[in-house]
């Protein structure tokens, strides 16, 4: 009976497909196509050679990777104990989860801006530093890589915590008790039971944090300076301020490639290590 109406599903699917094809896929393919073509319309890698020869781009690219990587590592180190505490020990799990979600629902403009208030020349951190005599006059804590990393971590740490809690909730307490009764120390239990079983959450969280940092625009725009541009701010600057659409396109392609490569490679490795995911 179902088979008779077979074709009707296309009516349901087609509008969305056409919409996405027209406004997203075709523009993306145009971007890709144009980036491989020179001014005469012939296939050429000249745009890419030009980009990778530019020292400015090299700096921006390496800075993006470095900042994203640093933020991801810090998020993992802060997120792991936090998630473990919330999952296994906390009595107010619901409240703590909600408090982790709240910043995610708050505009990145507000969150980055809050650091401008805290880290500014008249901010509370500089106040404390001067008053305690560590520095004689307020130091520049803003518009550099440090403030960007701080912003990134605050932006994406909730993602890491929530990914880890999702996995840790499924680790049975029995496993810990079993390990303990077989003579494993607390540290041993942690290393050989909790840590390996939490890796899927760590992987998901790391991919989310890394790609989030790599593609974030608001935080580097507000907390970074003109000499600490990253890929996202470079695309915007090339396109909107300098009108260099070609270079903006090439940087955009590089960003897509890195994002997709990182997430598929890491997810692929973790699937190989743990086929049950």
């Amino acid at each position: 009976m179902l088979e008779k109406k077979t074709k009707i599903y296309w009516l349901f699917i087609l509008p969305g497909c056409l919409f996405l094809a027209f406004f997203m896929l075709i523009p993306l393919f145009s971007l890709l196509f144009k980036s491989f073509v020179d001014e005469g319309g012939r296939f050429s890698l000249a745009n890419y050679f030009a980009l990778f020869e530019s020292t400015y781009f090299k700096q921006v690219f390496l800075r993006s990777i470095r900042l994203s990587l640093t933020s991801t590592v810090v998020c993992a180190f802060l997120g792991f104990p936090t998630a473990y505490y919330i999952s296994k020990y906390s009595k107010n799990k619901g409240v703590l989860m909600a408090l982790a979600v709240f910043p995610m629902f708050t505009s990145p403009v507000i969150r980055s801006f809050s650091w401008m208030v805290i880290l500014g020349k008249k901010g509370i951190v500089n106040d404390l530093l001067v008053k305690s005599g560590i520095v004689s006059k307020p130091i520049g804590l803003l518009y550099n890589e440090f403030s960007m990393i701080v912003g990134f971590i605050q932006l994406f740490l909730p993602l890491m915590i929530l990914s880890l809690i999702g996995i840790m909730d499924n680790i049975s307490e029995d496993l810990n008790l079993a390990a303990g009764s077989l003579g494993a120390s607390r540290l041993g239990t942690f290393r050989h039971v909790v840590l390996p079983l939490s890796i899927p959450g760590l992987v998901t969280g790391s991919v989310l944090v890394f790609t989030g940092c790599l593609t974030a625009y608001t935080t580097p725009q507000l907390l970074g300076g003109t000499d600490t541009r990253v890929l996202a701010t470079m695309i915007y600057q090339q396109a909107m301020s300098l009108g260099d659409w070609t270079q903006a396109s090439v940087v955009a392609v590089v960003m897509i490639v890195v994002t997709i490569a990182v997430s598929s490679v890491i997810n692929g490795i973790s699937r190989k290590l743990n086929p049950t995911i």
Partner: protein, 259 residues
Amino acid sequence: MKKSKSLFVVTLLVYVFLIGPLLVIMAASFSDTTYLKFPGEGFTLRWYQQIMQVKSFGSAAKNSIIIAFGGTFVALLLGLPAAYALNRYRFKGKELIKSLFLSPVLIPVIVLGFVMLRYVVNRFKLPALPSLLIGHTILSIPYVMRVVTSSLANFDFSMEEAARILGAGNVYTFFHILLPNIKSGIVSACIMAIINSFNNVSLSAFLTSAGVSMLPIEMMAYVEYHFDPTIAALATLLMVITLGVMLVIEKTLGLKSVV
């Protein structure tokens, strides 16, 4: 228990780091000083009145609301039937189509904004408001697809069959059998999509024009030139609204179903 104590300290510090800055903004919004200061001095509500004086905020807020709700509505119109068909029927290329509807989350939003500006807006001379609506619809489609698909996975399609056998038409079956069963899924998808769209910067940065702006873009522009507590007052207002929304979600659907 010793271990849980040190874990507790780390957790506490992490939450101070996550929430503290937001509390600083809230406190600074009441400061009776002409520049942003924490700890503030005195107490005043004048920065909340000042929000109304900044003309660009009003129209931008209106646009942001229209686009967030409108874009999510269009995403629902496009995504709901598709999610239904993907769950209900078997056919070739199903996985491919599903990934197409989920793909906007894989593409960096800043790139999406850039290609839309270059290959849609500039090419077809599209005005700002429709382009923003299209862009934000693309942002919302994956949310609709993901959440609706998972609530449809729990829906027993034989109920639909039963309704039809009892003489219900397609439209009746849809509104009285299917929709009530996946309602909470749809609502949570919409809330997530609306919040995400309302807070979006990267896409709007490319698609707004001189006359037509969005609230986060105006806030960013304001922050770059002014450093008075007006923006802290506005931020506090938005955070209070967010908190209210979260409380309502928690009371009705449970926060877990949304995140």
